[in-house]
C-alpha cells in the first residue's frame, strides 16, 4: 500500500531527525559542555566555524540527510492536515502533487547549496 510506505518513511525520517537534531543541539548549543569533556573548540556559530564545518564531507552529508528527512517528514505532516479537511479526491491529489514537487525542488536547491559550500575554498 502506497500510504503504508509513506507512513513508514514518515516514522523512519522522524528517528533520523531525532538523531541529527540531537547532534545539532550537542554541537551548536551545548558546545561549552562538550568543551568540558574535550570535544570541539571555539564558538560553533562563528562564520569561520560554520564554513569550516561545511567543507567537511561528513557535515555535508548530514546537512543533506537532515534536509531530506526534515522536508519529507514536514511535508507529509502538512499533507495529513490537508487530508483531514474533507477535500475532494482531485484536490487531495493536487495537494499531494504540489507538495511533492515543492519538496523535491527545495531538496535539490538545499543540496546544491550544501555541495557548493563543501566545494568553496573557505573565507
Amino acid at each position: 500500500m502506497r500510504e503504508s510506505r509513506l507512513w513508514f518513511w514518515h516514522i523512519l525520517s522522524a528517528i533520523v531527525i531525532l538523531v541529527l537534531l540531537g547532534l545539532h543541539m550537542g554541537t551548536k548549543h551545548l558546545s561549552e559542555l562538550l568543551h568540558m569533556i574535550g570535544i570541539g573548540s571555539g564558538d560553533p556559530v562563528q562564520s569561520a566555524q560554520v564554513f569550516h564545518r561545511s567543507q567537511q564531507a561528513v557535515y555535508m552529508i548530514t546537512y543533506i540527510l537532515l534536509l531530506g528527512t526534515g522536508l519529507f517528514h514536514g511535508l507529509y505532516g502538512l499533507r495529513s492536515i490537508f487530508f483531514e479537511l474533507s477535500l475532494s479526491k482531485t484536490l487531495e491529489k493536487l495537494i499531494g502533487g504540489v507538495l511533492a514537487v515543492a519538496g523535491i525542488a527545495l531538496f535539490v536547491y538545499g543540496s546544491y547549496v550544501a555541495v557548493l559550500l563543501f566545494q568553496t575554498s573557505g573565507v
Partner: protein
Amino acid sequence: MNNSATQDKAILKTVKFEILRYNPAGNESPHLENYSVPVTKGMTVLDGLTWIKEHLDSSLSWRSSCRMGICGSCGMFINGLPRLACNNQIVHLHSDRVVVKPLPNYDIIRDLVPDLEGLFSKHRSVKPYLIRKDVSEQDKPTGEFFQSEQELLNYIQFAYCIKCGLCMAACPTVATSEEYAGPQSLTAGWRYLSDTRDEGASERQDVLYSSHGVYRCHFAGACSQVCPKGVDPALAIQMAKRDAFMKGFGFGKERKASSVMSPVQDWTPRGDIPNAPEKTAGNTGSKREP
C-alpha cells in the same frame, strides 16, 4: 418505567434535564428545552427520558432497546461525554443538571436520534466477517477452525464492540474529516486482521491502510475513554500501524490461516452431563415436540 414503581420509590432529588430538541419537519433549528425530573434510586438517564415522555412531553424522540448496555442503541451526548443513556445513573453524574444532546459527528434525524448510516457503511467497508479461501468449508463446515487461547486473546476485546458509535462521536479526527474511516470500523478491521482464522487481509487493507485509514489517527484516545464495553479502539489502531511498520521492515510475514481441526477421537462423554437438546434448525424431516 412503571408509574407505580416510580411512586413507590423515594424521590432523592429533582434534576433539570436540558434536552436538545430538533424536528426537521417543523423546520425548527436545534434548541434546548428544560424539564424537571424527580430522581429515584437507580434511575438512569434513559429512565429520565422515559419519565419525561410519559409525563411531560410525548413528542420527545430517541432510540433505545435493551436498557442494559448490550444493544448500543441509546448513545447520547450526556453532560459533555458520549455515553449510553441506559448505562448511566443520574445520581452518578453528580449534577443537578443533565444536558442531553444527540451524538456529535452525526447528522440528527430528530431530537436525540442520530443518523448512524455513516457508521454502518464504514463498518461494512472493512468487511467485518471471516474471509476464507476455502469457501466450501464455510458453506458446509466439516469441523471447527483451530484457534489457541492466546490467539483468541489477541483480538477478543475488539470483538466486544456493540456498534453504539460512541467512539466515532468522541473522535476529534472524525469531527473534521468525513472521509476518515474512524475508530469503530478500523477496530473491526483489525479484529479480523488479527484473527488467525481469517484470510481477508488483502481485501481489508484498501480501507485500513488508505490515506483515510489508520494513519490519520492522532491517538487522542477519546474513543477508548468513552467505550461502554471496555474496548480499546486506540490500541487496535496503534497495533494496525505497528503491523504495517514491521511489515515495512520485512518482519511480520503473512501468516497462514488456521486449518480445520480433525474431530476428537476416542473420547467418552461424562455421565453427569445431560444430552444436548435436539437441533431445532438444519434438521430435515424431524418433528419437534410440542
